[in-house]
C-alpha cells in the first residue's frame, strides 16, 4: 500500500457518497445507503480485528446490541441526550471488550470463535430476558436525535432518510479513515505481524496480548457505534441487533469483500445489504441466490472481492 493510497481510497469513497444521491429516484434509497454505511462501519471494525490482527469474532453483534440499547435506555433512565448515549454505549462496549477480551483472547481460531459466540449470545439473552428493562424480544422505542431539529432551526431541512444518509456516511468515512491510518502505523503493522507469526512478533518486542486486546476493543467500539446509529435511525431496537445471525452477517460481509482491505470489506457490506433488496424480485429464491452468491464469490475471488480483483489486475499488468 503506497502512502497516497489512503487518500485515494478515502476520496473515492467520499465522492461515491456525495454523488450517489444524484441518482436516487426516491427517499428509500437514502435508507438503503444509510444501512450500507452503518454496516460498513461495523465491518471496518471487523477488518481491524480479523484482517489485521487475525482474530475471529462471532459475537460482535453483542457490541452492536450494547450500542443500540445504550441509545434506547440512557435517554430514558439517565436523561442523557441520544448523542451522548452513543459515547456511553461505546465506553461500555470498550470496557466489556477489555473485561472479556483479557481471558478469551488467549484462545485461538475456532476456540476463540466459540468464546466470542458465547459472549454475543449472553448479551442477546440478557436483552431478550430482561423484559422489564429492555422490552424483551419485542424490543423498545428509541428517541430521535435532536440534531436534525437543530439543523432544521438553521434552515437546513433534511428528510429523515437524507439526514441519516449523511450521518451514517460521515461516521463510516471517519471509521475508514481511522482504520486506514492504523493500517500504515506501527500498531497496525504489529497487528498484521502477529497474524503472521505470534512468536516472531513477540521476539521483536511486540506485546501480543495487549495488541490483540487493542484490536478487540477498537472493533468493539466500531460495532457499538454502528449499533447506536442503527437504533437511532430505526427509532426502535430489538434483541435481533445482538443476535448470532447479525454477527455472522457482519463477518460474512467482511470476508466477502476482502477482510484484509477496508474498502473491500465496506464493498462486501454494501453487497450483502443490497442483495436482499434486489432479490425481492425472486422472493421465493432469495435464500437460494444469496447462498449461491456467497459461494461463487469465495470460489472465484477467494481473498474477497476487492483484494482478489486487485491482484488479478496487477497480475495482468505485469
Amino acid at each position: 500500500m503506497k502512502l497516497s493510497s489512503k487518500w485515494v481510497q478515502l476520496a473515492a469513497l467520499a465522492v461515491l457518497v456525495a454523488v450517489l444521491p444524484l441518482f436516487f429516484p426516491s427517499g428509500y434509497y437514502y435508507r438503503v445507503g444509510a444501512l450500507i454505511f452503518v454496516n460498513g462501519l461495523a465491518v471496518t471494525g471487523l477488518v481491524i480485528l480479523i484482517g489485521y490482527a487475525g482474530q475471529i469474532s462471532l459475537g460482535h453483534a453483542g457490541f452492536a446490541g450494547i450500542g443500540g440499547y445504550a441509545c434506547a435506555l440512557a435517554p430514558e433512565h439517565l436523561g442523557l441526550p441520544p448523542s451522548l448515549s452513543i459515547l456511553l454505549g461505546a465506553a461500555i462496549s470498550a470496557l466489556l471488550a477489555v473485561l472479556i477480551g483479557k481471558p478469551i483472547l488467549r484462545l485461538r481460531g475456532y476456540y476463540l470463535a466459540v468464546a466470542t459466540l458465547g459472549f454475543g449470545i449472553l448479551v442477546s439473552m440478557v436483552l431478550t430476558n430482561e423484559r422489564a428493562l429492555t422490552g424483551g424480544p419485542d424490543g423498545m422505542a428509541v428517541q430521535g436525535l435532536a440534531l436534525r431539529k437543530i439543523l432544521r432551526g438553521w434552515g437546513w431541512r433534511l428528510s429523515s432518510g437524507e439526514f441519516w444518509y449523511v450521518m451514517s456516511a460521515l461516521a463510516m468515512l471517519l471509521g475508514v479513515w481511522i482504520a486506514l491510518n492504523l493500517f500504515q502505523s506501527a500498531t497496525g503493522r504489529a497487528m498484521r505481524a502477529l497474524h503472521g507469526s505470534e512468536v516472531a512478533a513477540r521476539t521483536v518486542g511486540i506485546d501480543v496480548a495487549r495488541l490483540k486486546l487493542q484490536a478487540f476493543v477498537i472493533s468493539a467500539v466500531y460495532a457499538s457505534v454502528s449499533g447506536s446509529l442503527l437504533a437511532l435511525q430505526n427509532k426502535f431496537v430489538t434483541p435481533d441487533i445482538a443476535g448470532f445471525m447479525h454477527s455472522i452477517e457482519l463477518v460474512t460481509m467482511a470476508v466477502l469483500g476482502g477482510v484484509g482491505s477496508v474498502v473491500g470489506a465496506v464493498t462486501g457490506g454494501a453487497i450483502l445489504t443490497l442483495l436482499p433488496q434486489v432479490l425481492t424480485v425472486f422472493a421465493e429464491y432469495e435464500q437460494l441466490v444469496l447462498g449461491l452468491v456467497m459461494i461463487l464469490v469465495m470460489i472465484f475471488l477467494p481473498r474477497g472481492l476487492l483484494p482478489s480483483i486487485a491482484a488479478k489486475m496487477k497480475g495482468r499488468g505485469e
Binding site: R108, Y111, F244, Y285, M294, M298
Partner: protein, 290 residues
C-alpha cells in the same frame, strides 16, 4: 431425587442430540480444518427427506436409509461444487462457503419441501419407560445409542484404520499427504459423505423428539459446534462428552437455577472450561516447534 434423575435423563437425551451433531463436525474438520457450518442442514435434510418419503408411502426404515444416502450425495456435491473449486483459499473463506451453502440448502429445502414443522412416528412407540420415578421415551434410547455407536465407529476409524490416518494427514499437511500417495481429493469426498451421513442419521434419530422444519439446522449446528469445542474439536471423544455435558448443563440449570438463562449458564461454563483448557476437554494442543 426423582427430579434430579429426570433432569439427568433429559440432559442425556438432549446431550446425545448435540453429540450426534458434534460428531458430524469431526470428520470434515479432521480432513480439512474447516468447521462445516452446513452440518446442521445435513441433520435437517435427514429429517425432512425421511418425513416426505415416509409420507409418500415408503416404509420408515427405507425412508431413513434413502434420506441418509441422498444427504451423503448432497455432502459430496457440496465438496465437489463449492469447496474443491476454492482449494487454497484461506480457511475463513472456506467457512463463509459453508455458511453460504447452509443458506442455499435451507432455501432449497423451503422450496422443495415446505415451511411447516414435521415429525414421523417414534421407532419404538411413545410409551414412556419409567426409571425410579423418572421417565424416558424409547426414542431417547435410540438417540443415545446412535450417538454412542457413531462415536465408537469414528474412534475406530481414526485410531485403527490407515484411511482414518490419511484423513488426519490430509488436514495436517496436504502437500505431504500427496507426496506419500494419498489421493487427497478422494479423502475429502469420503469425509464429506461420511459427515453428511452422520448428520442425516442424527436427523432421522432425533426428529421424533425434536421435530423437523426447513430451518432447524442453524440452531442445531450452533449447539453442536459449542459442544464440539467444549470437548475439543476433531476428537470424537470430545464430541460425545462435550455434547452430553452441554445437554446436562442445560437440563440441570433449567431444573435448579433458571430456565431463562440455561443457555447462558451453558456458555459461561464453556468459557470457564476454555479458560483453563484452551483446547477444550480432550483437544490436543498442536505442537509447533520454532
Amino acid at each position: 431425587m426423582d427430579a434430579l434423575l429426570q433432569f439427568l435423563l433429559s440432559g442425556v437425551t438432549v446431550g446425545a442430540v448435540y453429540a450426534l451433531v458434534a460428531l458430524g463436525f469431526t470428520i470434515i474438520y479432521n480432513a480439512s480444518d474447516v468447521v462445516n457450518f452446513a452440518q446442521g442442514e445435513f441433520v435437517m435434510l435427514g429429517g425432512m427427506i425421511t418425513v416426505f418419503t415416509y409420507q409418500a408411502g415408503l416404509p420408515l426404515p427405507l425412508a431413513a436409509v434413502l434420506a441418509i444416502a441422498i444427504t451423503s450425495l448432497v455432502g459430496v456435491a457440496l465438496n465437489k461444487l463449492a469447496l474443491e473449486p476454492a482449494r487454497g483459499a484461506p480457511v475463513v473463506s472456506l467457512i463463509i462457503i459453508t455458511i453460504g451453502a447452509s443458506i442455499f440448502i435451507r432455501g432449497a429445502a423451503q422450496l422443495i419441501f415446505d415451511k411447516q414443522l414435521h415429525r414421523f412416528p417414534s421407532f419404538s412407540g411413545d410409551q414412556p419407560i419409567h426409571i425410579l420415578g423418572a421417565t424416558l421415551v424409547p426414542q431417547s434410547l435410540w438417540v443415545i445409542g446412535g450417538a454412542v455407536l457413531v462415536f465408537i465407529g469414528l474412534w475406530l476409524f481414526f485410531t485403527k484404520t490407515l484411511t482414518g490416518k490419511a484423513v488426519l494427514a490430509t488436514a495436517n499437511n496436504r502437500l505431504a499427504a500427496q507426496l506419500v500417495g494419498i489421493n487427497t481429493g478422494w479423502i475429502m469426498t469420503l469425509s464429506f459423505a461420511l459427515s453428511a451421513a452422520i448428520g442425516a442419521l442424527a436427523g432421522v434419530l432425533v426428529t421424533p423428539i425434536t421435530l423437523v422444519g426447513y430451518d432447524v439446522g442453524v440452531g442445531l449446528a450452533l449447539k453442536g459446534f459449542a459442544a464440539a469445542m467444549l470437548g475439543g474439536m476433531g476428537n470424537p471423544k470430545g464430541a460425545l462428552v462435550g455434547g452430553i455435558a452441554l445437554g446436562l448443563l442445560e437440563a440441570l440449570t433449567a431444573g435448579y437455577l433458571s430456565s431463562q438463562y440455561k443457555d447462558a449458564v451453558a456458555f459461561i461454563v464453556i468459557l470457564a472450561v476454555l479458560f483453563v483448557m484452551p483446547q477444550g476437554l480432550f483437544g490436543k494442543s498442536t505442537t509447533e516447534r520454532v
